[in-house]
């Protein structure tokens, strides 16, 4: 008997061999000599990752337990392949055109590039495939245990063994699948390695089969006799199970993430499908050829109670054929490793693209440095995902007890991933399918699967209580996991398939019908459903009909002159043509269409080239797609316009504010300059005369007195100026406290006239008409008086008539009391009218005693009081009118 150590050594050697193959294949691919890597044969063989350890070991066990029913697992995929023209071809085309990297990516792309949908599919896929990975662990562990009987000292128990197997597989996958990163998610080395493994498992199974038929049974005739006499020969066909299982395996074949990876993502040429459509069913047929004989002989030869899942190993061992058993072990090992590698690669791509990266990119919203470090994050997140996925598989194995039959576990996964099918194929064939429909179908189907298939698989009392099993969830009889809605007596697998898919499809269709797709979704939907009308690979251009000049003109319009010229020049260089314009070859037209599509959308680009090339007419579908795109672009440009208008407005406001500030600054400078002048002028006299008084000896008493009084007068002038400035500043800042009083207008006027008479009043005659002076006022009477005093003293100073006269007249102006001050002096020049109330606007200052602030102060006061002051030029003289506040009248 081969020792466990020898077996481990053989396995490691085999893995090293696979590594070498993968390595050389990738090197050849990089050097451009990898054409053979992408042959239809390799493609067909790579599809054989459908045949996992479950198929390798489990089919025999399945046959030993349930007779011919195992055939359904091969029948479903065979039907899909044979009927590739209807479904698979479209799936592969769409996957390639839209560069789908996974099932999640495909579904999300169809429904408007929804990341929500992608992450939901990802999570479902991880959970759905977990039992499947557990299955691989179990089969490898079981097969190892055959070579290492439990009674041997130092042997590992099954969970420890499973752990090391899981660990080994994880390392193997990380090394294999994430050494580098390709934009298209293709893995040449991996594909060639799984093709080799496909050959190894087929050869191993055939070898065991041939040994069994010719070595043990003694030929085909005796073999048939033994089959007839064995219990397997007496199988009864359960129709519902047959139909359900065939449909299920067909669905799983299309929806399994790893199948999508090899079938669509790794597909090099669509024509390979055509060959695989008969070659792969042939492979499956060969794989199943000896299943029944091995099962029959196993049941005959081995003691009752032997695990039929291991007949492939135990039959040769029982006959002492260690070499054959080792080959068989390698076959099973190949099945398990190839499945785990591709499945975890596919899942880690999904987890990293749809869960980790969006979260990571969101977390660092700047996202500016999208270069080297992103690659590192991607690789790291893939590796972590691989470890996590295999770890989950191990945990499932651990908690499901590791004892269930292989086929049963495999079917649980199948039902899980089959839930993707309605969203996938509904999206491909039905334009009306919507994102919310897909989401509803997925979630409903998944929930039913978890409840009816996944959780019960742990056995009653593990996750679901026994009470739930027998009495239904929350004690509701119609919620029993294996008899939903009270329909009993159905096989649990059929039950799960029928209910999950029925409810899934119902939710998908119902929600799709009541929700509306957004524009991007509608566009993607049209492109998916009509992929054969739109896709570039399918329809070539009749190159002869296009002229490079026309293409150039159109490209310049869309891409901009520089970019278009660069593109054309590069192509001309590539073709070895002199100058700017390349030949409009088929390849160039397709390249150009892709470039244009990046700017204007695929449909528009297609329609534009169609127009120029002339060969293809633009279909209604094309126009619809163009319209969809245009609507989006229009909406986008409307948003841009709105943004731009907003910016213009903001810029205008800023400019206005800036102008205001500049004007304020100019005003401030002028004001300071004025203040300086007003302060320095009296100070000049004060300084000069005080120096004269100090320095001049023998100055007469008359002069002394005269000069001292000049100094005195100028000092007073300075003080008054400062008072005015402070007063004005307080008024302008609004810090003034109004002292409200009630009084008679006549008294205020009287007070003001009295105040102006105190100094040398000159010859000014003040005439008042006392008619309306009895009006009662309620305002700040002192401030009002200040205004009156200012106006009267201005008249005293500036009225230049021979007999200066001031008429003060109280009148009623449109309900508001006005006080007019009319003098008979020279009217102020018209050009100065606008400046009268401005600071330092000394218009006609001969004696220089005013600082030019008086009228400015008057205006400020009247504004504060709620009134106004205005100037009116008269034919003979000037009139200032004080408009009293309305409420004061």
């Amino acid at each position: 008997m081969a020792s466990i150590n020898q077996l481990v050594a053989v396995s490691l050697g085999y893995v090293a061999f696979l590594f070498a193959i993968a390595f050389f294949a990738e090197r050849a691919a990089v050097r451009g000599r990898g054409g053979w890597l992408r042959s239809p044969l390799v493609y067909t063989l790579s599809l054989s990752i459908y045949c996992t350890a479950w198929t390798f070991y489990g089919a025999v066990g399945y046959a030993a337990r349930s007779g011919m029913e195992f055939v359904t697992i091969y029948l479903g995929p065979s039907l899909v392949m044979i009927g590739w023209w209807w479904a698979l071809r479209k799936l592969v085309r769409i996957g390639r055109v839209h560069r789908a990297t996974s099932v999640a990516d495909l579904i999300s792309a169809r429904y408007g590039k929804s990341n929500l949908l992608a992450s939901v599919v990802t999570v479902m896929a991880v959970i759905g495939v977990t039992p499947y990975i557990a299955l691989q662990l179990q089969s490898v562990t079981l097969s190892l245990s055959i070579f290492s009987p439990p009674e041997t000292a130092g042997s590992l128990n099954q969970f420890q063994a499973a752990f090391w197997v899981a660990f080994g597989l994880a390392i193997f996958t990380v090394l294999f699948g994430t050494r580098n990163l390709n934009a298209n998610e293709r893995h040449d080395g991996v594909v060639i390695a799984i093709a080799v493994e496909a050959v190894v498992k087929l050869v191993a199974l055939l070898a065991v089969g041939i040994f069994v038929v010719w070595g043990i049974a003694g030929g085909i005739g005796p073999m048939m006799d033994r089959i007839d006499s064995s219990p397997i020969g007496e199988w009864n066909m359960d129709r519902s199970r047959w139909v359900a299982l065939t449909a299920l395996s067909a669905a799983a074949f299309l929806a399994l993430p790893r199948m999508f990876q090899v079938m669509v993502v790794e597909n090099e040429d669509e024509r390979h499908l055509q060959i695989a459509s008969w070659a792969f069913p042939l492979y499956l047929m060969l794989m199943s050829l000896f299943v029944v004989p091995i099962a029959v002989i196993g049941l005959d030869l081995l003691p009752a109670g032997s695990n039929p899942d291991l007949f492939v190993l135990t039959v040769p061992l029982a006959e002492g054929r260690v070499g054959l058993a080792t080959l068989s072990f390698l076959g099973g090992f190949s099945s398990a490793t190839s499945m785990v590698i591709v499945a975890t690669l596919a899942l880690s791509t999904m987890v990293s693209n749809h869960v980790v990266m969006p979260v990571w990119l969101n977390a660092r919203a700047e996202g500016a440095q999208v270069s080297g470090d992103v690659r590192d994050v991607v690789i790291l997140s893939r590796r972590a995902s691989i470890l996590m996925i295999i770890g989950l598989g191990y945990l499932y194995y651990r908690f499901s007890g590791g004892g269930a039959a292989l086929a049963a576990i495999g079917l649980i996964s199948f039902v899980g991933v089959a839930q993707f099918l309605p969203a996938m194929f509904g999206g491909i064939f039905w334009r009306g399918a919507t994102r919310w429909g897909a989401l509803a179908g997925l979630l409903v189907g998944f929930a039913v699967w978890v409840f009816c298939s996944l959780l019960p698989s742990f056995g009653p009392g593990t996750v679901l209580s026994v009470a739930t099993f027998d009495g239904g969830l929350w004690g509701l009889g119609w919620l029993r996991p294996q008899a939903l809605f009270g329909i009993e007596g159905i096989d649990p697998t059929v039950h799960a398939v029928v209910w999950s898919l029925t409810l899934n499809i119902t939710a998908f269709v119902a929600v799709s019908l009541v929700t509306f797709p957004d524009p991007l979704e509608r566009l993607q939907g049209a492109q998916f459903v009509n992929v054969f009308d739109h896709s570039t690979q399918a329809r070539g251009w009749d190159a002869a009909l296009a002229t490079s000049e026309d293409l150039m003109i159109m490209s310049q319009r869309i891409l901009g002159a520089d970019e278009a010229q660069r593109l054309f020049r590069a192509e001309a260089n590539r073709q070895g043509m002199p100058g700017q314009l390349p030949e409009p070859t088929q390849g160039f037209l397709q390249h150009l269409e892709r470039e244009l599509a990046a700017s204007v959308g695929a449909a528009t680009a297609h329609a534009m080239i169609s127009q120029l090339v002339g060969g293809a007419s633009v279909s209604v579908q094309d126009l619809m797609a163009v319209a969809d795109e245009s609507a989006q672009i229009l909406e986008y440009s409307n948003q841009l316009e709105a943004k731009s208008a907003e910016l213009t407005q903001t810029a205008g406001k800023l400019r206005e504010a800036n102008e205001k500030l500049t004007a304020l600054s100019v005003q401030k400078d002028a004001f300071l300059s004025q203040i300086s002048h007003e302060l320095r002028t009296p100070m000049t006299s004060i300084r000069s005369f005080s120096e004269i008084l100090r320095d001049t000896e023998g100055l007469g008493q008359v002069e002394k007195t005269k000069y001292a009084s000049i100094i005195h007068g100028e000092a007073i002038r300075l003080t008054r100026l400062l008072d005015d400035l402070l007063d004005l500043s307080v008024l302008e800042n609004g810090q003034v406290n109004l002292n409200l009083e009630t009084g008679k207008l006549g008294d205020v006027l009287e007070q003001a006239v009295m105040a102006t008479q105190a100094g040398p009043s000159g010859a000014l005659t003040i005439r008042r008409r006392h008619v309306n002076e009895g009006v009662m006022l309620s305002t700040d009477l002192d401030r009002l008086s200040q205004v009156f005093i200012n106006l009267i003293s201005n008249a005293q100073k500036y009225c230049d008539a021979d007999a200066p006269r001031l008429d003060i007249d109280v009148r009623d102006g449109a309900g508001r009391t006005e006080v007019a001050f009319h003098d008979n002096g020279t009217p102020i020049a018209a050009e100065a009218h606008a400046l009268i109330f401005e600071k330092f606007a000394r218009l006609n200052d001969q004696d220089g005693s005013g600082a030019g602030l008086g009228l400015a102060i008057c205006r400020e006061i009247m504004t504060r009081l709620g009134g106004d002051i205005t100037y009116h030029a008269e034919a003979a003289g000037n009139t200032f009118v004080v408009h009293l506040p309305a409420q004061a009248a």
Binding site: S685, S688, E691, I692, D695, I710, D847
Partner: protein
């Protein structure tokens, strides 16, 4: 030789002070307060020295100076300019226009008289 100064200034008290200071040193002092007619006055009187205020009613001291220097006859006439606006830009403008000496008010009497003596000596 006659020491004849024309003082163009609109502030009565400042006129009074400068007149006092210059007459004491033997100057014949004439005064004028209107910017608009000041230039004609200078041409008419042909003084040995002009003391010119920067801010005048009618026409600014700066404009008067500029026009004065444009006349070849007056390119070297000493002009002492006084200003109460404390801006350095005014000094630059005046120097550009060809002022002989620029002083900011308030001035010290000694300062003014020194400047006057310097200017006259320079002119001789």
């Amino acid at each position: 030789m006659g020491k004849h100064v024309l003082l163009v200034e609109d502030e009565i008290n400042i006129i009074e002070a400068i007149r006092f200071l210059l007459s004491r040193e033997g100057w014949q002092v004439d005064t004028h307060s209107d910017g608009a007619t000041a230039l004609a006055m200078i041409r008419d009187m042909r003084p040995d020295l002009v003391v010119l205020d920067y801010m005048l009613p009618g026409k600014s001291g700066l404009d008067i100076l500029t026009e004065l220097r444009a006349d070849p006859e007056f390119t070297s006439l000493p002009v002492l300019m006084l200003t109460a606006r404390g801006q350095s830009r005014d000094r630059e403008m005046a120097e550009k226009a060809g002022v002989s000496r620029f002083m900011t008010k308030p001035f010290s009497n000694t300062e003014v008289m020194t400047a006057v003596r310097d200017l006259v000596q320079l002119a001789q």
